[in-house]
């Protein structure tokens, strides 16, 4: 549910705030819910708060899973 988008933590600003960067769009958000983020992390931003941190490896795995699907799909496409 609800609009949320991954953005890169560009700078921690103190006071539980950070500046995030989404393709050149900068916005100050609260990182009170993800206090451990470091600059360079990607966080899921929702109503001005970071809800969670993206795990790059898991993201890679998911994309790899799609590749697998793609293979399966390709196969399916061939066989169907």
């Amino acid at each position: 549910m609800c609009l949320a988008i991954p953005a890169r933590v560009k700078e921690r600003l103190g006071d539980d705030m950070a500046k995030v960067d989404l393709d050149g769009v900068l916005k100050d958000i609260s990182i009170a819910l993800t206090p451990d983020v470091v600059e360079g992390d990607y966080v899921i931003v929702h109503v001005g708060y970071a809800l969670s941190v993206i795990d790059p490896e898991e993201a890679q795995k998911t994309l790899a899973l799609f590749d697998e699907m793609q293979a399966a799909g390709a196969l399916a496409a061939v066989t169907s």
Binding site: M1, C2, L3, A4, I5, P6, R8, L22, D23, I29, S30, A32, L33, T34, P35, Y42, I44, H46, V47, G48, Y49, L51, S52, V53, I54, D55, P56, E58, A59, K61, T62, L63, L65, F66, M69, Q70, A72, G73, A74, L75, A76, A77, T79, S80
Partner: protein
């Protein structure tokens, strides 16, 4: 946009769609409910319906916080905003929701109430600090994603001893709603609604994790895939559900492992637990009273509870009897089944809440998808 663009790759999507078409058993129907309005929105916006075979159906669930908010709560907010020195802060989607007597927050604002759209609870706090003579009330709605920001705002207000900030709390819970649907006679006894699995909203699970779904998956024999909101996430989740149905499994799978953990965000859960407690029951539009399905502000933060501060009383208001929102939210009807759809009721003249938020089933179908109905009508006409 990293972590966005990769997940909007149309070529990959086409291939996953091909897998679905290949793997879906042509002899059976697959009916999945995407619980969340965000998924409904994504399906419509990317035209995903076009990519699914005819025997794979998506049912739009009740996961739109605007749609499930009963009219009586909007009436309360309008009444509150009319009180002296009150500034009501709200997320934009709520402005146009029809309330009783042909009113809405937008209309109340036009009539002179001080109602402001905010992007975040941070903005509402800022207003309270900058305008100490105003009594700033944040009209809080939403599922588990918007709840931690509200909790934090209350904690900050308490810490800063802000005397002019309070929250009109309408936060509701995803698992309670899903359970209610699975327990409804339509699904359980009458079987009028076929439900072969759920797409769970990833953003909710960034907070609560996947674990809360494990109970249903087992109890109701229903597979659940927690999925992201990009089109590849969505279509991939559908494929995963098709595969579970084919395999006869009832697992909770996590498609959004890149940001969802089994136990979610412990910080966020702790903040929520600090500030909120379960309501015994809460009225959902469409679902009626659902036990333990919403949150209220704890006694220890009662000074920030607008319901207590302003002695607000809830008067349930019957929905427009011609509006089928209730049945649509439960998956019993489709928007086009409603007589008002597209005639009396459009996004510019919404009669029911599902027509207001772009995540509402009726609005999403009207805004993005109605050309399909028309095509069918034309086809029918052509055939006739």
């Amino acid at each position: 946009m990293k972590y966005v663009d990769e997940f909007r790759d149309g070529k990959l999507g086409a291939k996953i769609a091909a897998s679905i078409r290949a793997e879906a058993d042509p002899k059976r129907h697959y009916s999945f409910m995407e619980f969340c309005g965000g998924h409904t929105h994504a399906i419509s916006r990317y035209g995903i319906a076009d990519m699914l075979p005819d025997n794979v159906h998506m049912i739009h669930g009740p996961g739109c916080p605007v749609c499930v908010l009963p009219v009586g709560r909007i009436d309360q907010a309008i009444e509150l905003a009319s009180r002296e020195n009150v500034t009501l802060c709200t997320y934009g989607d709520l402005m146009r929701v029809p309330a009783s007597k042909r009113r809405s927050l937008l209309q109340a604002k036009a009539d002179g109430s001080d109602i402001r759209m905010v992007y975040s609870t941070l903005d509402a706090l800022k207003i309270a600090e900058q305008e100490p003579e105003r009594r700033v009330v944040f009209f809080a709605i939403g599922f588990e994603t918007t709840t931690p920001p509200t909790a934090l705002a209350i904690k900050v207000a308490a810490k800063k001893k802000l005397k002019n900030f309070s929250v009109f709390c309408n936060h509701v819970l995803t698992p309670a709603a899903i359970q209610n649907i699975l327990e409804s006679p339509d699904v359980r006894e009458l079987g009028t609604v076929q439900l072969d699995g759920f797409v769970g909203p990833a953003h909710v699970s960034t907070v609560i994790g996947t674990q809360p779904y494990e109970y249903f998956a087992e109890e109701f024999h229903s597979p659940v895939v927690v999925a992201g909101f990009e089109p590849l996430d969505m279509i991939q989740a559908i494929l995963m559900l098709v595969r579970q149905v084919n395999a006869g499994t009832n697992l909770v799978e996590n498609e959004f492992s890149r940001a969802v953990k089994r136990h979610g965000n412990e910080h966020a859960k702790r903040d929520v637990a600090d500030v909120f407690e379960l309501r015994k029951t809460f009225e959902w539009r469409g679902l009626g009273e659902v036990p333990y399905s919403a949150l209220r502000i704890k006694d220890s933060y009662s000074e920030f509870d607008a319901e207590r501060l302003f002695s607000m009383t809830y008067v349930p208001t019957p929905d427009n009897p011609a509006c089928d929102c209730g049945a649509i939210l439960r998956g019993v009807k489709k928007p086009t089944d409603c007589k008002l759809f597209g005639t009396a009721c459009t996004p510019d003249t919404p009669m029911g809440s599902c027509m207001v938020s772009s995540e509402g089933s009726c609005a999403a179908h009207w805004t993005y998808g109605r050309f399909r109905d028309e095509d069918k009508a034309d086809n029918n006409k052509a055939r006739a």
